[in-house]
C-alpha cells in the first residue's frame, strides 16, 4: 500500500508536467491545426529564466515569477509573429511544423550559449520537511507542482468557457472559416494561443525545476512526452491532455516500481499505442472531429 502510494506520487509529479506540455500543444493545435514542437522548450525557458531572475539577479520571488512568465509570453509572441503568421496564409501545415522544430533548435542553442550545459536549480517554493502520507513521502514542491497544474486547468476551463475571448478561440478551433465570417480576428486568436501555451509551458518549468533541475536540452524529451499525453487523451481536448499526462506519468512510475525501471519508457509508450489502436481519436477525442481535421 505504501509502495503503491509512493509510486503514485512519483507518477503525479512527472505526469503534471507532461499534462501542462500537452495542454500547450492543444491550445496551439486548436487555433492553427499545427503541432508546436517547440512547446517543451518553453518549459526549459521557464526553469532557466526563473533561475536567472531569482538567483542571478536576486529579484524577489514574485517579481521573478512574473518576469519569467512575461519573458515566455514575449518569446511566444515573437515566435508567432515572425514565423507562424506569414506562413499561416499559405496554409502549409507541414511547413509550419518544420518551422517549430527549427525554432526549438534555435531556442536550445541560445539557451546553451546563455546558460551553458550545466543543470540549474533554486530552492523549493516553501521550505520544509517532506510530508508523510500513510508511510509514503511527498515533498512540498510536489504539491506545488500538482497544485499549479490543477489551477492552470481550472483557469483555462473558465477562460475558454466563460470569457468572450476564450469562446472566440474555441470557435476558431471548431471551424476557422466560420469563425472568421463571424468577425473573429483569427490572427489575434492564433497569437493569443501561442502566448498562452508558452506561459503554461513556462509555469510547468518554474514549478518542476526545484525537483528535477533544469538544463538547456531537457525540452526535447518533454515535448515528446507531452505530445504523447496530448495524443493519448485526444488531440485538441484539454481534459484529454490532463488525463493523458497523468496516466503516462503514473504508468511510468508503476512500471519502474513493479516491473523494471529499464522498461518504463517502453511500456508507457506501448500502452499509449494500444489505446490508439482501440480508440484512434484518443480517450476523449471524437472520431468525427478527427475526420474533419487535416491533421
Amino acid at each position: 500500500m505504501t509502495l503503491l502510494l509512493q509510486f503514485l506520487f512519483s507518477g503525479l509529479t512527472t505526469g503534471s508536467v507532461y499534462a501542462l506540455v500537452g495542454i500547450g500543444f492543444n491550445i496551439v493545435y486548436n487555433s492553427t491545426s499545427i503541432i508546436n514542437l517547440a512547446q517543451g522548450e518553453f518549459v526549459v525557458i521557464g526553469g532557466l529564466m526563473m533561475w536567472f531572475f531569482l538567483e542571478g539577479m536576486q529579484f524577489p520571488f514574485s517579481v521573478s515569477f512574473s518576469l519569467t512568465l512575461l519573458t515566455a509570453a514575449v518569446i511566444g509572441l515573437i515566435m508567432e509573429r515572425l514565423t507562424i503568421k506569414p506562413l499561416l496564409k499559405k496554409g502549409d501545415l507541414l511547413l509550419m511544423i518544420m518551422v517549430t522544430i527549427a525554432i526549438s533548435i534555435l531556442i536550445r542553442g541560445i539557451l546553451m550559449f546563455k546558460f551553458g550545459k550545466d543543470p540549474y536549480t533554486y530552492p523549493a517554493f516553501t521550505e520544509g520537511e517532506p510530508i508523510n502520507f500513510y508511510g509514503a513521502v511527498i515533498t512540498q514542491q510536489t504539491l506545488w507542482v500538482i497544485g499549479i497544474t490543477v489551477l492552470c486547468i481550472i483557469l483555462l476551463y473558465l477562460f475558454f468557457n466563460k470569457t468572450m475571448t476564450g469562446r472566440a478561440m474555441r470557435a476558431c478551433s471548431i471551424n476557422i472559416r466560420a469563425a472568421r465570417l463571424m468577425g473573429i480576428n483569427v490572427s489575434k486568436v492564433v497569437m493569443l494561443s501561442f502566448i498562452i501555451s508558452s506561459v503554461i509551458g513556462a509555469l510547468g518549468g518554474i514549478a518542476i525545476t526545484p525537483i528535477s533541475l533544469m538544463e538547456y536540452d531537457k525540452g526535447a524529451m518533454l515535448s515528446v512526452k507531452g505530445f504523447c499525453a496530448a495524443i493519448m487523451g485526444g488531440l485538441g481536448r484539454n481534459r484529454g491532455a490532463v488525463a493523458g499526462g497523468f496516466s503516462i506519468g503514473i504508468l511510468e512510475a508503476l512500471t519502474a516500481g513493479y516491473i523494471h525501471s529499464g522498461f518504463k519508457d517502453a511500456i508507457a509508450l506501448l500502452i499509449m499505442l494500444f489505446i490508439l489502436f482501440v480508440k484512434p481519436a484518443g480517450i476523449f477525442g471524437k472520431a468525427e472531429i478527427m475526420k474533419l481535421r487535416k491533421f
Binding site: F7, D118, P130, E215, G257, G262
Partner: protein
Amino acid sequence: MKGLGKLCLCLLIFLVFTFFTPITSHCKEPYRIGAIFSVTGAASFLGEPEKNTVLMLAEQINKSGGINGHPLEVIIEDSKSDETQAVLAAKKLLEKDKVLAIIGPSTTGESMALVPIMTQAKTPLISAAAGANITQPVKERYWIFKTAQYDTSAVEAIYTYMKKRGIKKVGILTITTGFGDSGRKALTELASKFGISIVADERYGPKDTDMTAQLTKIKAAGAQAVINWSIGPGQVIVTKNWYALKMGIPLFQSHGWGSKKNIELAGKAAEGVIAPLGRLVVWNKLPDKHPQKALLKKYATDYEQRFKAEPSTFGGHAYDAFMIVVEAIKKVGPDKQKIRDYIENKIKKWPGTGGIFNMSPNDHCGLDVSAFEMVIVKNGDWEILK
C-alpha cells in the same frame, strides 16, 4: 563606395597581420600533438574542461620555451560526441597534420572507434575515457593508453569501504548510458568477490525527472545501502529523492560525483553522501607530503584563475594524457615508436591528477584502486573518510 573599399583593405591587412605573424616568428620546427574532445554534443561536459586544460597547458609550455626549444602545436578537434566525427578528426590529424600522438577522445565509444585507426597508423593514442575495453586486451592495444581510472577501481573502492562497515546488501541504481552500463557491469561482477549481494538493480534515463519509484523499490528490497552510478543531473535528482524519502540507508555515488556544483545543486540533501573520488577535488585536504599535492594545487588554481570555473576530474584526465606525451617527447624526441615505448616502460610512480601512474606492458592505464579516496559530503564540503 570608395570608403567601403578602403575599409575592406584595412580589414584585410588587419587579418593578414593577426593571423600570419605568429608562424614566421618561430625558428625551430614545431612539434604537433593532436587532441580530439567532445567539445559539443551530449558529452560536452567532458570535452569542455579537457579542451580548456590542454589549451592552458600548451600555452604554459610554449611560454617557458616549448619542448627542448621546439614550440608545441596542439591541434584540437571537436568530435561533437559522435564516433564518426571522432574517426574523421583522427584521420585528419594523422594524414594532414601528421601529429606525433593523439590525446582523447572523451568517451569510451569514441576511443574504441579509434583503436583500429591508431593501430594502423602506428601512432600513440592516450584516451581520456574510462572504459576498461580501451586498453584491454593489452596485446591488441599496442598503441593505446588511457589516463582515466578504471570503473572497476571505483567499484572496488566502494565495496572495500562497505565490507569494512559490514554492509552486505546493496541496491544499485544506474543511468542508461555507456557510463551507467559499464558501472552496472562492474558493480554486479565484483559484488560476490566482496561478499556483497545486489538485492535491487534499477535504472533510469539521462533526462528522467524523478527516481522516487526506483529508490522506494530498493528500500523495499531490504538494501543496506544505495549505489547510484551516473553523471549529469541524474545524480543530483537521486540525492534529492533519497533525502526526501528519508531512506535511513547511506547513499553512495560513483566517481562522477566529484564536482562542487553537485553539492550546490543538491543543497542539504547532499549531506552524508559518500563517493570514491580522485584527489583533484580534495587536493587542499591532502597532507603536504603527498606526491600529488603540489601538481594538483597548481593545476586547480591555474585553471580556476584562467577559466573562472572549478577544475573537473575530466579535465584532469586530459592533463595527465597531455603531460605524459609531453614528457615522452621531451625525453625521446619526435619519434612515434620511441614515444610509445617510453610511455609503456618509463611512466612509473609518475604523479598525475588522476593518481600515481605505473604503466607497464600489461597495463596501459597504470592506475588502480589507490587512485581513489572515499569522500563524504559534510557541511557543504568534501571530507576524506579514513
